[in-house]
């Protein structure tokens, strides 16, 4: 790897099977970022531009924390990076900061807020909950995952949220059921009242949370993760239908009113490069092209 890359990984931690946390040195980003925003990482000369939500930041140290799930060829490659190594590019912060930060304090005080984190979505939820705590607001938080192994950031979340509810699809830990079952339980059986839900996780989860909260009449904010290229508004790859309007997630979002999002369209769009990328991964396995680890030949 070229030594002059400047975005050094100062910490790496495995949070769960195939979910990693990294602190990356990026002083400009750390100085001006807020919860709700994201960065774009390009690992090396030939890498993709990969969008990841900002999960924490240390303005003094000049570091930004990312948490990612190794699901495809790029994120799997990223998982191979170790402390002390560096990324070629780390751009941000991108997108708007969380709406909560700009809400009038009086209004925010009156609100009962429930955060809903699905899987790796706990990572982007965490800085928002932390911000709320630091500014003196108590909130509830659900962390849901398929099984116990995939629950991340539980202790961190407990330190900043008033109540943390864990739920697993297979019942191996906490409440038995998906996040919607858990929301229903809280509202219908435990007498909880919420005026605002912030749901972040896989699109399919956000879709179903929104269907439920619409029935329950609770305003819901979601954080959308469509395919992106530049992240600055130039390409239109990230477009979504919100209400009757087309919006660009990178400049208009990534957070939107969940009751207005056309999730079915967004989920189809997310599949767009899956096949192309799959074919490519195959080619790489077969040895047509490959790069990084073990092959330094592409780096000048």
């Amino acid at each position: 790897m070229a030594l002059d890359y400047m975005y050094t990984i100062t910490k790496k931690k495995s949070l769960a099977n195939s979910i990693y946390l990294m602190d990356v040195k990026a002083p400009r980003v750390a100085k001006n970022c807020y919860p709700g925003q994201f960065v774009i990482i390009k690992m090396d000369e030939k890498g993709e531009r990969i969008p990841l939500t900002i999960c924490d930041y240390d303005r003094e140290e000049g570091t930004v924390t990312i948490v990612f799930q190794a699901i495809g060829s790029s994120t799997q490659l990223m998982a191979q990076y170790e402390e002390g190594e560096a990324f070629r590019d780390f751009t941000g912060p991108l997108g708007h900061r969380s709406e909560l930060i700009d809400m009038p304090r009086e209004e925010l005080k009156k609100k009962n807020i429930l955060f809903v984190a699905g899987g790796v979505g706990a990572a982007p939820v965490y800085p928002q909950v932390k911000w709320m705590k630091e500014n003196g607001y108590d909130v509830d938080c659900i962390i849901g995952a398929r099984n116990k192994e995939l629950i991340i950031l539980e202790d961190e979340m407990k330190a900043v949220a008033k109540n943390v509810y864990i739920t697993t699809d297979d019942g191996t830990y906490g409440f038995h059921g998906n996040v919607n079952d858990c929301i229903k339980d809280l509202v219908n059986h435990q007498g909880k009242k919420y005026d605002l839900v912030i749901a972040i996780g896989p699109m399919i989860m956000m879709k179903f949370v929104c269907i439920l909260t619409k029935e329950l009449g609770i305003k819901t904010i979601v954080s959308m993760n469509p395919v992106m290229v530049d992240g600055t508004g130039m390409c239109g790859a990230c477009r979504l239908t919100i209400g009757n309007e087309v919006k660009f997630a990178c400049v208009d979002g990534p957070e939107f009113d969940g009751h207005l999002v056309n999730f079915d369209e967004a989920m189809k769009r997310l599949q767009m490069y899956k096949t192309a990328e799959g074919k490519k991964a195959l080619r790489q396995k077969e040895g047509d092209t490959h790069h990084h680890k073990g092959c330094e030949c592409h780096e000048e």
Partner: protein, 461 residues
């Protein structure tokens, strides 16, 4: 030699180039350039110069080419332009310097652009660089965006001794020169990088991955980082879509996305990670340079390509040379046709495009005849990919985060044409961010004017 005819220029054979990304036009050899240069009659009152937005001393440099003093020719051009190898390739010369050339009255105009390109290529191949300034004045100026406007403004200021830093949002400098205009018209490593390196060798610093309005703001640059003036050259902005049903289907792209994936992210080279959907049957909607570039890119990726444009051939906004090249390569044109709906299969992918035929009616505000729908002319094109190339609208990122920076009703930044000064003290702007999508040389002209404006502002301050 027939003095009325220009020395022909070699091009890659259309059949061959339709399958590669190498440059189409191969440029002049020295003898050919000298011969073409001898066609210039060295007018006392050269019309050509007034046709050039940066007023290059055209007869001056052509004279040097004729006498085989190419280095001297390069010095002359360098006094006026920081990107001659770029402009020689992509300037719409036929409507600028060459349109008014005296030679053009009775025959072909002098091939000014091709000669400019020759000189710049020669200088690069002989490792001749513009000279850095002797003295620095220690004053810091920030430039936002590294497209032609920003690069030119930065280069001009560096020559005057300023300490200039360019802030670029993407991971590589160059703006549209890098992510928009394809390799086969403008080689990236060889030409764009080399000319950017020339700007760097004047002492300009470039910081990539910095988004002004997010990573930092103009106020912070001026208050915390000690920049005494700022130039905004942030380009044309967000791609437009038509607003017809089906436009968010899989397989519908903006030309910007398609070109960015291919040019900036090098999707055509399988050793890069970024994927691209090549498509088998592609329609490109629009008729400008951007549409031609998208169409010719899709063709090279192996698609059968049709350009769909709602007016007639005469109104195609693209350069004649580009339309000609596109046709030679086998791109089809469906003119006087307008899409009304994109048809989508159950998996969410494009399956076709419903269109109507148009006919030209009365002229509209722009003076072009307005296309109107022909009755009962609806038909369907079978397709798997649609590339929308309908222009852009300004990105509000900078204007919304900079107090006192005003925009006009088209949301473009308001700036004085002569000095580039905006409504905010110490902040200047130029290029596509001010005019809306225009040309490389106009952006350069604006960058140059603003450099002068900034110099005057900082010396009188």
């Amino acid at each position: 030699m027939d003095v009325l005819k220009k020395v022909p220029i070699k091009e890659q054979d259309p059949q061959v180039r339709a399958h590669n990304f190498d440059e189409v036009c191969l440029g002049y050899e020295l003898e050919e350039a000298m011969e073409e240069a001898s066609r210039c009659i060295q007018c006392k009152n050269p019309k050509c110069v007034s046709g050039c937005p940066v007023s290059i001393d055209i007869p001056g440099f052509i004279k040097e080419v004729e006498n085989n003093n190419i280095e001297a020719a390069f010095k002359i051009i360098s006094d006026y332009s920081a990107l001659p190898a770029v402009c020689g390739r992509v300037c719409p010369q036929e409507t600028q310097c060459e349109q008014v050339c005296i030679r053009g009255i009775k025959g072909d105009p002098v091939s000014i652009g091709k000669l400019e390109r020759f000189v710049a290529d020669w200088a690069r191949n002989h490792n001749i660089k513009p000279e850095p300034p002797k003295e620095k004045n220690g004053k810091k100026v920030a430039v936002i965006g590294s497209g032609p406007a920003g690069l030119t403004c930065a280069g001009e200021l560096a020559k005057l001794g300023y300490d200039v830093t360019i802030f670029e949002a993407l991971h590589e400098p160059g703006g549209v020169l890098l992510y928009g205009i394809p390799e086969f018209r403008l080689p990236k490593e060889e030409v764009v990088k080399a000319e950017i390196n020339n700007v760097i060798s004047l002492g300009v610093k470039i910081e990539t991955n910095v988004i002004i309005g997010r990573s930092t703001t103009i106020d912070e640059l001026m208050e915390d980082e000690g920049f005494e003036a700022v130039f905004i050259g942030s380009g044309a902005g967000l791609p437009k879509f038509m607003g017809i049903p089906g436009e968010n289907a899989n397989g519908v792209f903006s030309a910007n996305e398609y070109l960015t994936r291919n040019n900036l992210m090098k999707a055509y080279d399988t050793s890069y990670d970024t994927p691209i959907i090549t498509g088998k049957r592609v329609a490109v909607v629009g008729g400008g340079n951007v549409a031609m570039d998208a169409a010719r890119t899709a063709l090279r990726l192996g698609a059968d390509v049709t350009v769909v444009y709602r007016r007639s051939e005469a109104e195609l906004p693209a350069r004649v040379e580009e339309v000609h090249h596109a046709k030679e390569e086998g791109i089809k044109f469906k003119l006087l046709t307008n899409p009304t709906e994109i048809l989508v299969n159950e998996d969410g992918w494009v399956s076709g495009m419903r269109c109507v035929e148009m006919e030209l009616g009365e002229p509209d505000e722009s003076g072009r005849r307005r296309p109107v729908v022909k009755k009962d002319s609806e038909f369907v094109m079978e397709l798997d990919t649609v590339i929308m190339s309908l222009g852009t609208s300004p990105n509000p990122l900078i204007s919304s985060t900079t107090e006192g920076l005003e925009i006009n009703k088209w949301k473009c930044i308001i700036a004085d044409e002569e000095t580039g000064l905006t409504t905010r003290e110490g902040v200047f702007a130029g290029g596509d961010a001010v005019t809306g999508a225009a040309t490389v040389i106009l952006a350069m002209g604006a960058g140059k004017a603003a450099a002068k404006g900034i110099h005057e502002y900082l010396t009188s301050k």
